[in-house]
C-alpha cells in the first residue's frame, strides 16, 4: 500500500514535468504542422537563462521568494527574443516545403543553437537550487518530498488549463481553430495567418522555455540538456495524439505512471518502457489516443 502511494506520487510529479516539457510541441504541431526539434533548444535556453539570471539576482540580494517570478521571467525573455527571430527570420520562408524538410530545418537550427548555447554559457554546469529547497518539504508514506514538486504540478495545471481556455473560449482561440482547419480559407476570410503563426511559435517556445526554467532548480544545467527532452516529448505527444491538448495531458499521465510503476516493481525495464508504450499505443491507435480528424482531399 505504502509503495503504491509512492508510485502514484512519483508518477504524478514526473507526469507534470513531462507535460510542461511536451505541451508546446503539440501546440506548434497542431497549428503549424511542424515537428519542432528546436523545442529542445528552447527547453535548454530556458534552463540556462533561468539558472544564470536567477543566480545573478540572488547574488545581488534579491529576496529568494521572488526567484519563482524570475524563473518565469527568464523563460519569457528567451521565448520573446528567440522565438520570433527563428519564425520570422527563417521558418516563415520554409512553409511551402515538405513537413519532413521543415523538420530537418528545425534539426539544423537545433544543432546551431546547441553550439550557440555553448558559446554563451560554456560547458560548465549551472545550478540554481535555492527555489527547490525554499518551500520546505512534506511527508507522505514515510517518504519526504520537497514542496517544490507541487509547484511543478501547479505550473502544469495552469499551462494546460490556460491553453484549453484560450483555445475554446476566446475569439483568438476560435480564429486559431479556423487557421488549423484550413489555412487558405482563413486567409481568404481576412485572418492574419502570419500573425497567428508567429504568436503560436513564440507561445509554443515559451512553454518549452518554462519547462526548462522550472526544471533548472532540480538539475544541473549542462550541455546536451535539450537532446533528451526532444524524443521524450515526442513520445508523450505521439501517445496522446499529435496536436491534441488533452492527448498531451493523458500521454504525460500514462507515461509518468507507467515509468514510476516500472521503477518500483521492475527497475530493469525502465530503459525502454516509454518506447514500448508508444509502440503499443500506435499499434492499436495508429494516430494516438486523441487523434485529430483530418479532411481527406481527393
Amino acid at each position: 500500500m505504502q509503495e503504491l502511494v509512492a508510485v502514484v506520487i512519483d508518477g504524478i510529479i514526473y507526469s507534470a514535468w513531462l507535460f510542461i516539457a511536451a505541451v508546446g510541441l503539440t501546440l506548434i504541431y497542431g497549428v503549424m504542422k511542424i515537428i519542432n526539434v528546436t523545442h529542445g533548444s528552447f527547453y535548454a535556453l530556458g534552463a540556462y537563462a533561468a539558472a544564470s539570471i536567477t543566480g545573478a539576482l540572488l547574488a545581488h540580494g534579491m529576496p529568494p521568494m521572488l526567484s519563482y517570478a524570475v524563473l518565469l521571467g527568464s523563460a519569457l525573455l528567451v521565448a520573446i527574443v528567440v522565438g520570433p527571430l527563428i519564425e520570422r527570420g527563417i521558418l516563415r520562408f520554409m512553409y511551402v516545403k515538405d513537413e519532413v524538410v521543415i523538420l530537418l530545418i528545425t534539426y539544423a537550427l537545433f544543432l546551431i543553437l546547441e553550439d550557440v548555447i555553448k558559446l554563451i554559457w560554456g560547458v560548465d554546469p549551472y545550478y540554481i537550487s535555492e527555489p527547490y529547497g525554499l518551500l520546505g518539504s512534506f511527508d507522505v508514506a514515510d517518504l519526504t518530498y520537497p514542496t517544490y514538486n507541487l509547484i511543478l504540478v501547479g505550473v502544469a495545471i495552469v499551462c494546460g488549463a490556460g491553453l484549453a481556455w484560450t483555445l475554446t473560449k476566446t475569439r483568438t482561440g476560435k480564429l486559431l481553430v479556423a487557421v488549423i482547419h484550413d489555412t487558405e480559407v482563413s486567409r481568404a476570410m481576412g485572418i492574419n495567418v502570419d500573425r497567428f503563426y508567429v504568436v503560436t511559435f513564440t507561445f509554443g517556445s515559451l512553454l518549452a522555455a518554462i519547462g526548462g526554467a522550472f526544471t533548472a532548480p532540480t538539475v544541473s544545467v549542462v550541455p546536451g540538456l535539450g537532446v533528451e527532452v526532444i524524443v521524450l516529448s515526442f513520445a508523450v505527444v505521439v501517445i496522446g495524439g499529435l496536436g491534441s491538448l488533452p492527448g498531451a495531458a493523458l500521454g504525460a499521465v500514462i507515461v509518468g505512471l507507467v515509468r514510476s510503476a516500472t521503477i518500483h516493481y521492475l527497475p530493469q525495464a525502465e530503459l525502454f518502457v516509454i518506447y514500448f508504450v508508444m509502440a503499443m499505443v500506435l499499434a492499436f491507435r495508429p494516430r494516438g489516443l486523441f487523434s485529430i480528424a483530418e479532411a481527406r482531399k481527393i
Binding site: Q2, W17, Y132, D142, T215, P223, G224, E270, L271
Partner: protein, 424 residues
C-alpha cells in the same frame, strides 16, 4: 599546398617508403582527443583539455618540476592536434584515421568513453600508431586481446568498485544491506556488477535491496529516490557522473537520502567543489584513483594543482590529473627510449619498448605499467567521506589502498579475480 603535401606524404606511407630521417628537433605532433561538446565535456572533456594545454605549454617551456624538467620530449617541441570525442564510434574511428594518416601525428593521447577506446584500440593496432588512453575505464580492452601500440595510463574501473567495497567494510563493517543506483549503460552496469561481486566476497551474506538502473541522462530521479529511501539499505552505491550525478545530489539531498543511508559516489570528486553546499557530511567520495583531494603531497602535485588553479580558477579534477598523467607517462617513456638510443630521437618501436612495464611518477604518485603485458597501468586508490570545515569542503577518514590490493594481477580477468576472493 597543404593538401598536396598531405597527399604526397600519404602516398609515400602507402607505398611503404621508409620515412626519411627526421631532424632531431622537429616538433612531435600529438593528437589529443577529448569530449569538447555534449554532457561529458563539462566534468571530464574540458578539464582534460585544459590540463593538456597547460602540460604542453609548460613541458615545451621546461617549467615542469623534476623529473620532467627537460624541454619538450627529449628536446623536441610537442604540438597538439585537438579533436572532439563526440559523434559516436564510426566518427571517432574516421577521425582517428584522419589524425594518423592525413595529419601524420606521431602519437595520439585521449579517449574518455570506454566505447571509443574499444573501437579505437584495434584501429591503432592496424595503423601501427602509438596510442595512449588516459581515462576510459573498461577492463575489457586488455582482457580481450593483447596490443602492441595501445597503452592506458589510468587504472580500470574494477579498481573503483573494489576500492569502494573495501572502504564500505572499513567504514561500516556491520552493513547488512546494499542498494545501487547506476546509469543503464556499460559503465553503470559494470560498476554495479563489480561492486556487488566484491561486496559479497568482503562481507559474505550481504543482501541487495534494490538495483536501480535509470536511463543515461534521465535527469529526474524522484521515483528512484523513493525506492532507495524505502529500501532502507545501509549503503547505496552510485557511479553516476556529470549532470546525472549533480541532479541526483540535488534531488536526493532534500529528501533525506544521505541521512538515511551511507551513499558512495565513485566519481563524486568532479562535483564536490561545485556542489559543496548541497553535499552533506558523511558522503563517500571517489576520484577514480589517487587524484584531486587524494593526490599525494609532493612537489609535482603542488606545482600541477597550483598552476591549473591559477589558470582556470578551479582545482584540477580527476580527469585533468589523468590527462597530465598520460602526458607525463609518454614523456617518461620517450626520454627513456631516447637515452637508450644514445641521445638520438627514438623510433616508435623504441618508445613502445620503453613504455612497456615502465614505472613513472605523476602528480598522483607512482604509476606502474604492469598489467596488460606491460600496457595497462595500475595505481593505488583512496576513498574518504565529506566533511565541511568552516564552510569549505574537505575529505575526512581517508583510507588508501595500494595498487596491488585493488587491481587484479596481470593476465587475470577482473570478474574472475573478484570471484576468486582477490587471489594473488
Amino acid at each position: 599546398m597543404q593538401g598536396i603535401r598531405k597527399l604526397i606524404a600519404s602516398a609515400a606511407a602507402l607505398l611503404c617508403v621508409p620515412a626519411l630521417a627526421i631532424a632531431q628537433d622537429a616538433p612531435i605532433k600529438i593528437g589529443v582527443v577529448s569530449f569538447l561538446s555534449g554532457p561529458a565535456a563539462g566534468p571530464f572533456g574540458v578539464p582534460a583539455r585544459n590540463a593538456a594545454e597547460i602540460m604542453f605549454e609548460m613541458i615545451n617551456a621546461g617549467k615542469v618540476p623534476a623529473p620532467y624538467a627537460t624541454k619538450g620530449l627529449g628536446g623536441a617541441k610537442m604540438q597538439m592536434s585537438l579533436v572532439d570525442e563526440s559523434g559516436g564510434t564510426t566518427t571517432q574511428v574516421t577521425e582517428f584515421r584522419n589524425l594518423v594518416q592525413r595529419d601524420n601525428v606521431d602519437l595520439v593521447i585521449g579517449y574518455i568513453s570506454s566505447g571509443s577506446c574499444l573501437g579505437i584500440a584495434p584501429v591503432a593496432e592496424e595503423l601501427k600508431k602509438l596510442t595512449v588512453f588516459f581515462d576510459c575505464g573498461t577492463p575489457r580492452i586488455f582482457e580481450e586481446r593483447d596490443y602492441k601500440y595501445v597503452f592506458r595510463t589510468a587504472s580500470t574501473a574494477t579498481m573503483d568498485s573494489v576500492g569502494a567495497a573495501l572502504y564500505v567494510k572499513d567504514l561500516k563493517p556491520n552493513a547488512k544491506m546494499i542498494a545501487g543506483v547506476n546509469q543503464n549503460y556499460a559503465w553503470g552496469q559494470d560498476s554495479w556488477g563489480d561492486f556487488e561481486l566484491a561486496m559479497q566476497q568482503i562481507i559474505p551474506g550481504i543482501k541487495v535491496a534494490t538495483s536501480q538502473m535509470p536511463k543515461l541522462f534521465a535527469g529526474q530521479y524522484n521515483a528512484e529516490i523513493s525506492t532507495l529511501l524505502s529500501s532502507k539499505a545501509d549503503v547505496i552505491h552510485s557511479s553516476f557522473w556529470d549532470g546525472d550525478l549533480e541532479a541526483f545530489i540535488l534531488q536526493a539531498g532534500p529528501r533525506g537520502l544521505f541521512k538515511r543511508s551511507t551513499v558512495i559516489l565513485t566519481t563524486g570528486e568532479t562535483a564536490m567543489y561545485k556542489l559543496a553546499a548541497k553535499i552533506p557530511d558523511g558522503v563517500v567520495i571517489g576520484a577514480r584513483g589517487p587524484y584531486g583531494p587524494y593526490a599525494p603531497d609532493n612537489e609535482l602535485n603542488k606545482w600541477f594543482s597550483a598552476t591549473f588553479e591559477d589558470r582556470y580558477g578551479v582545482p584540477p579534477n580527476y580527469a585533468a590529473y589523468q590527462m597530465a598523467q598520460a602526458i607525463l607517462g609518454t614523456k617518461a617513456a620517450w626520454e627513456k627510449a631516447q637515452a637508450a638510443n644514445g641521445g638520438k630521437r627514438p623510433s616508435q618501436d623504441q618508445v613502445i619498448a620503453a613504455f612497456e612495464n615502465l614505472t613513472f611518477v605523476s602528480p598522483a604518485g607512482e604509476v606502474k605499467m604492469t598489467n596488460g603485458k606491460g600496457h595497462q597501468a595500475i595505481t593505488g586508490t583512496a576513498y574518504g567521506v565529506t566533511k565541511k570545515v568552516g564552510g569549505k569542503m574537505t575529505i575526512d577518514k581517508i583510507k588508501r589502498y595500494p595498487a596491488e590490493k585493488v587491481n587484479p594481477p596481470d593476465g587475470v580477468k577482473a570478474a574472475d579475480w573478484i570471484k576468486s576472493g582477490f587471489k594473488k
